[in-house]
């Protein structure tokens, strides 16, 4: 068991003022069988317009808001304490939709042939998932900047490179071919200064986190912020605004042991 103090902040700087800004944030971690979150605080800046809470169908906490007045920057900062009990996720049934491919995970020729060459052999679900994660880890090279948030699993497989989001999407695709229910997770991990993405696998009883980027089960240094069938279901920040502006995003996170 570990007690962690976390702080996570995203700043957006627009190249010029924007108005009519609506946003949904999935930046607030919630308690499940693995992590117990106490007193999470979310601060949003600038303080313009209304902010309220909602939930989505995947169980995530949403912070929603609207800023009609012109503003040139936008940031949110979430902090709190997490108690992590073990490496396994929450227990309980998995919705059937976690067993089906999405547009981002839909396998093409490359993934299908990779799967044929690397069919897992173990009897239990978690071991098969670990086998797939290991083969994938061997095959892929972690390279920043070659993929984006809209890159599909198949495209990343074709380049056999990408970042944590791509590793997660490919593993989800492979697991679903294998008939295993699984989901995409966004969160914070101890040694990264940014957000991280990994996969949770359901073995019929409970969820277990696997980090394909590092080819290991997630340990007690990972804090989950949100989950869904793929990245598109649960972006940490989604916003729309009026204004012909580009934006620069900076993300920082800090986890310390208490």
């Amino acid at each position: 068991m570990k007690r962690l103090r976390f702080e996570y902040e995203t700043k957006l700087e627009f190249s010029q003022c924007v108005t009519g800004h609506s946003f949904t944030l999935r930046c607030t971690p919630f308690s499940d069988g693995r992590q117990t979150i106490s007193e999470p605080v979310c601060e949003i800046s600038p303080k313009l317009g209304e902010v309220w809470r909602s939930r989505d169908s995947f169980g995530n906490i949403l912070i929603c808001g609207r800023m009609d007045e012109p503003h040139k920057d936008f940031s949110f900062k979430v902090s709190g304490e997490a108690q992590i009990v073990n490496s396994c996720g929450g227990s309980g049934a998995a919705a059937a939709f976690y067993g089906f491919q999405t547009p981002l995970t839909f396998p093409g020729e490359k993934i299908l042939s990779f799967y044929e060459r690397n069919k897992p052999s173990a009897a239990d679900v978690l071991s098969r998932a670990e086998e797939l994660s290991a083969s994938l880890y061997e095959h892929m090279t972690y390279i920043r900047g070659v993929t984006g948030t809209e890159t599909t699993a198949e495209q990343a497989m074709e380049m056999h490179s990408g970042v944590c989001q791509d590793y997660a999407h490919i593993l989800l695709s492979l697991l679903r071919i294998e008939g295993i229910r699984c989901r995409y997770v966004s969160g914070l991990a101890f040694e990264f200064g940014e957000t991280h993405a990994w996969v949770e696998v359901h073995d019929g009883v409970r969820w277990t986190g696997i980090d394909p980027t590092h080819n290991r089960l997630i340990g007690d240094r990972y804090i989950k912020l949100c989950h869904g069938r793929d990245y598109a279901d649960c972006p940490i920040e989604r916003g729309i605004y009026i204004g012909n502006a580009g934006s620069i995003q900076t993300v920082s996170s800090r986890i310390t042991e208490i």
Partner: protein, 441 residues
């Protein structure tokens, strides 16, 4: 048939009135938007009281079962667990929306306005062609045509016992009121470049709902509001939205949507507003799910289906696939992911090579297609250059689910303007007729 008692003599006058009233249908072709008049044929389709009463029973039953199916699929999924429908047909459907899981809409109604397409075979039997549970359009056309025909030839309506169809607006209004969560009713339109803009404005006028575009609405604290001219806000209790699911809320669905209302899904999830029809209904009117509707009726209602499906085969099942491959020449193939008459091909129109291409496609992508026997549906008389010709026609019946489920005693009869063509969709250039339901003697 003798048309003396119908508005045929005044057809020209009625079409001129329709043009003047702006009864139009927009079509996108090659990237440009064109509005065209929706050609009206003055010879009505006539449905006897007896025929209608059977049809009514079957439609109410079907729509009730479809509503129960949607409620089930977005909660427990009992019909899957009980092995009636394979789960793959539900979750692979483009119409299934995971972000709608576990949301129960106000009063548990998903499909408030259902447009059920039927055809009548040569022997008089009615068959269901497809269910439209998302935003079925078209009720305004027979409604305004009737209004104009009454003006042009009032005698026709004095001399015939025809069910008055002018109650559609009040049915629609009470359907909205029934699920309204407190506040006003609005009709949300994408604007005048939408194919059915005429209908949106017409219904707003007839039901007293306010016609709005997304910029008139906003969400705050999970409540939907309409902006008023003084900068104030009025709470909205029900939205009859005429934009499709994927554009409804850029915070949940397509982020690039410019016609949606950010956070409307949060207001809906919180139970603070009714969305008519509910998002996610596409899973129930999917062409693949169609095959299972008679099974749903038995499963949820314990009744035998009153109305028949057209004989349908799912290549997904080996036995059906074999039949389809062996009999492709006489079947119609439909792509389950396409709507509006797109993605429909007839085996009899194919060359040898095309047939073998299709056989390969069906084998490779067995979930993507359904195959149906071609129903030789009846031709109706249509006026063309002052003489009558025979043309294929279908019927879209409108079923409204409010406090109870009711069938509108009228409907949109669409006909093909090409001889021997079975494609009647207005987006493919078809025309329409009024539908007269006769009152019992």
């Amino acid at each position: 048939m003798n048309y003396m008692n119908t508005p045929v003599a005044d057809a020209k006058a009625v079409n001129e009135l329709l043009a003047r009233y702006g009864v139009k249908f927009g079509i996108y072709k090659n990237g440009t938007f064109n509005e065209q008049l929706f050609p009206f044929d003055a010879i009505p389709r006539i449905i006897s009281a007896e025929d209608f009463s059977a049809m009514e029973k079957g439609l109410v039953q079907r729509v009730d079962a479809l509503n129960l199916f949607l409620k089930d699929i977005y909660s427990d999924g009992k019909i899957i667990k009980d092995g009636i429908i394979p789960e793959v047909f539900v979750y692979i459907s483009k119409g299934y929306l995971a972000p709608c899981a576990e949301i129960t809409p106000p009063k548990g109604i998903y499909s408030h306005i259902s447009g059920i397409d039927l055809v009548q075979a040569q022997d008089g039997t009615w068959y269901i062609l497809e269910d439209n549970l998302r935003i079925p359009s078209g009720a305004s056309y027979p409604l305004i045509a009737r209004e104009l025909c009454r003006m042009a030839s009032p005698g026709a309506f004095e001399n015939n016992r025809i069910a008055d169809n002018r109650n559609y607006a009040s049915l629609l209004r009470s359907t909205m009121d029934h699920v309204n969560c407190g506040g006003i009713n609005v009709i949300l339109t994408p604007g005048r470049y939408n194919a059915a803009y005429f209908e949106h404005s017409y219904f707003a006028e007839k039901t007293g709902a306010i016609l709005v575009q997304n910029s008139d609405l906003f969400v705050e604290n999970n409540i939907l509001y309409m902006k008023d001219y003084q900068g104030g806000k009025t709470r909205v209790g029900a939205v009859y939205r005429r934009i499709s699911d994927e554009y409804l809320d850029p915070m949940t669905f397509l982020p690039e949507s410019l016609i949606g209302v950010p956070h409307i899904m949060d207001a809906y999830r919180a139970g603070n507003v009714a969305i008519i029809n509910a998002p996610g209904n596409g899973v129930a009117d999917d062409k693949g799910i169609y095959y299972f509707v008679p099974k749903m009726i038995k499963y949820y209602l314990g009744e035998e289906p009153v109305l028949k499906n057209a004989p349908t085969y799912l290549p997904f099942y080996e036995e059906d696939r074999k039949y389809v491959l062996d009999n492709l020449e006489k079947l119609v193939i439909k792509d389950v992911s396409e709507a509006g008459g797109y993605g429909v091909v007839f085996g009899r129109d194919m060359t040898k090579e095309q047939l073998s291409d299709w056989r390969r496609l069906i084998t490779e992508q067995s979930r993507r297609f359904i195959a149906q026997e071609i129903i030789d549906f009846i031709d109706l008389d249509v006026m063309e250059n002052d003489r009558t010709v025979l043309r294929k026609a279908d019927l879209r019946a409108f079923v409204l689910s409010g406090e109870k489920t009711q069938v509108w005693a009228s409907g949109l009869t669409r006909f093909s303007r090409k001889a021997n063509s079975f494609v009647v969709n207005s987006s493919q250039g078809g025309g329409f007729k009024d539908t007269w339901v006769l009152l019992p003697e």
